[in-house]
Structure formats: C-alpha cells, structure tokens
Point group: C2
DNA sequence: GTCTATATACGGATAGAC
DNA sequence: GTCTATCCGTATATAGAC
C-alpha cells in the first residue's frame, strides 16, 4: 500500500470528523442545525490546531481563536462549554479515529509480517493525513485533566500493545527472531512519532512519507527478521 | 561504560550548572553574592522544572514558583528579568552542557563503531542525569522567542549531524553497511529522545538506562553492521 | 537581599440585544 | 445563531519599605 492508495481507501475528511463530533456532543453544543455546526467546528478545530501548534494551547487566548475563525467569543462558546472542553474534544477524536483505523488495517491480514507492515504503514499514513492533530495530541497531553490524561496514557499503551502482540505472534510462529516484544514495540512507536513530531524537518529535506515508511520497515526488519539474502 | 561509571566520570552537579549560569548572567542578576545566587538559582531551576513538567511553563504562574521555592516574587525577579528570560536560561544551559559533554565523549575514540557507541551511551546517560531539563527543553521549545527557537533547531541538527558524521566515517572505512546516514541519525535521535520523554513509562517497567542502552545498540547494530555471527 | 503592596493588562466566561 | 459589552479573577512586573 502506498500513501496515495491509503488516501483513496479511507476518507477521513475533516468534515466527517466534525460530523461525528457533533453527533457525540449534541447535548453540549447549543447550535442545532447540523450543517452550521459541521462548518463551524471545522473552522474552530483547524484554527485551534494552527494557533496551538505554533505557540501552545494555554497561550492561545479565546480572542486569538475568535480572530482566526472570524467568530465572536459568544459564538465560539455555543460549540463548547469551556476551553478545556475544546481540548478534550480534540484529544478524544484523535484517539477514536486512530483506534478504529488501526484495528481495521490489521483485521484482513493473517501473516504476522504482513500484519506488522500494515499496522505501521497505516499508523504512519494516518498521522500524515492528520499531522496537526497528532502533534497537538502529543504536545498538549500534560495539559489535560487527570481523567483525560489517564485516557491518553491508556491510548498510548493500547497502540504499543497492538504492535507487541503482532511481534509475539510472529515469534511464536517462527517468522520473527526472539526479541523483547514490548521494547521493540516501544521503539516502533518512537519512530512513528518522530515522523509527525518533526514533520517540518523532514519536509525541508523533501522526504516523502513513503520514503520514511520504507526506511523504517527496513530498519525494523533487519532487527526482527535478519538480513534479506 | 556503564551509567554508574558515567556518573563517576563527570560531575554535572546542579550546583556547578548554577554557578555557570551566574557567571554568564552577572549583568542581569541583581544579587551579587555568588553563594546566595547559586543556592537560589538551584531552587528556582528545580522548582521551575518540577512545576512546568507537570503542567507546562505557560501555565506555571510566578506565584506558583514563589510557593515552590519559598521565595517572594520580588526576590525571584532579582534573578531574571522576565519569565521568558528564565525559560531561555534553562534552554541555553541544556544546550551548552549537551554539546560539551557529547564532544568530549567521542574525542578519545578513533574506531567508528566505538565512537558511535560512546556518543549514544553518553547522550543517553546525560539525558538520564538531567531528565527534567531534557524533557522541559523538548516540550517548551515552541514557546521560545524566534531567535531562541532557531538556536533550538540548530542544536537538534547539530546533534544529528554528529551522529551522521560518525556513520559516514564508518561507511567509508567499510565497518558499517551502506545506509542513509542522515535518516539513520534521525532515528537514533528519536530513540534517544523516547527515553527521556517517556521516562515514567520505562520507570514503571523497571527498565534501567543500561538495559535500554543495550537494547538500542543491539537494534541499531543489526541494521548498520548486520548479524553478529 | 528580601518582603509586601500594587499598577496594569489580559484571561475566560456570560448576559442580553438583535 | 451571532454579536457586543462587561464581569471578575488572575497574570506579570515593579516600587518602595525594611
């Protein structure tokens, strides 16, 4: 699978995400016309990510957000009940989509090596489509409420376990070398995260997500499978 | 070299760091008695790291800092001219120490493989001794002034280049396999960063820095050297 | 050198008009 | 649904006493 294919396969349009947020938060969103909500949530989310990823969510004032979205503060507060609420929405949405897409990507594969490649490629491609969300989610995790922080940690561990389980399965079937599966999974996560955390560095070097994916897999497979020849 | 040996070899005591900060900032620090300054800077830095790493530097108020250090706001402002100044001090100090220690670690080695191991181990051990500083430096980079941000990026690229140069040298001498040296260096950095960014995860698993180092090197060498046998 | 008190600005959030 | 005006708390930074 290439990135282009991935994009064709799953449409995670910003619009669709906002539609889901609306459905999930019908109660706390005062505005009731779906199309209006979707349109405005899109503006709010994209503006929040843009400002926060430049100077941090705490440093973003509601007045900043109003300027960027061209909405008044009164209007903004029709879509969430507090600034913290906005933060939680973004985090929740990122987690939900990741889990859904990632699980979908591996359910068709039975061979551990293929499964592992699918999971890694999917995660990488997803983080490319939603780079600002992923960056935001990582950098702002510690500003969440205690409850939300626990969810963020659980999500991180969930993904790690997903990789670790594939590795273990591969080892028991003899297609992977015996390696510490949890540590290997941790390193995989670290490599995946580097792509979206240092996105601008890689952009400057004209490195495509496919090139990064290829390199990452080559690096990993040298360790868990051994030399090709 | 083990972590215990590293600790013995270089003493990066908090005190010594604060003494250096004092010397470099004589002009902007109003208090003139060296011992007083060193003692208080130590309290200020450690409190800043403690609070900021929990809830972010922006969210830390000067009143928070006063409570934690048991100093009044008036006293605090004798040691720096603004909150931003305090941030810059911490960043600058982290960069300086890293560069110094890292360069020192590789100057004695001539064999590329040994040099690479030394650089990786040193970086890992240093980030262990100064974990709060490294975490802070990474997470708060985007809150710096434009000028300071450029310095932070330059520092990141400097370290990466240091690794890339060792890799290139090893390749030209035939002791490393031909791999993309820049990308490999990026991945090395990502793995090193994961250790101090997810320190609490690894602590919960009772993984020591030496175990992580061993694993990291094993992983890397499978790629750039090939199987041991 | 350190303290308390305060100047001044800006933050999040809401009320009520349209 | 959206806007403007405003409440009220808290932020950084400093002045001046001790």
């Amino acid at each position: 699978m290439t990135y282009a294919e991935f994009q064709r396969q799953i449409k995670i349009s910003r619009q669709q995400i906002c539609r889901e947020v609306f459905v999930e938060n019908r109660d706390s969103i005062r505005v009731k016309k779906e199309n209006t909500v979707v349109k405005n949530l899109e503006r709010i989310f994209s503006a929040t990510l843009k400002i926060s990823n430049k100077k941090g969510f705490q440093a973003m004032s509601m007045r900043d957000l109003g300027r960027e979205t061209k909405m008044s503060m009164g209007a903004l507060y029709s879509y969430f009940s507090s600034k913290e609420d906005l933060l939680a929405m973004l985090q929740h949405q990122r987690r939900t989509i990741t889990r859904r897409i990632l699980e979908g990507s591996i359910e068709d594969e039975s061979d551990p090596a293929a499964k592992l490649r699918a999971a890694i490629l999917t995660h990488l491609y997803l983080s490319e489509v939603m780079q600002p969300w992923f960056y935001f989610s990582y950098m702002e995790a510690k500003n969440l409420s205690k409850r939300e922080q626990e969810l963020a940690v659980a999500s991180e561990l969930y993904t790690e376990k997903l990789f670790a389980d594939i590795l273990k399965q591969g080892q028991s079937r003899g297609c992977f070398l015996p390696r510490d599966s949890q540590l290997t999974a941790s390193i995989i996560k670290a490599m995946l995260q580097d792509w979206y955390l240092k996105r601008s560095k890689y952009r400057k070097r004209n490195l495509s997500v496919d090139q990064y994916a290829k390199f990452l897999l080559q690096f990993l497979e040298a360790f868990i499978i051994g030399p090709k020849d």
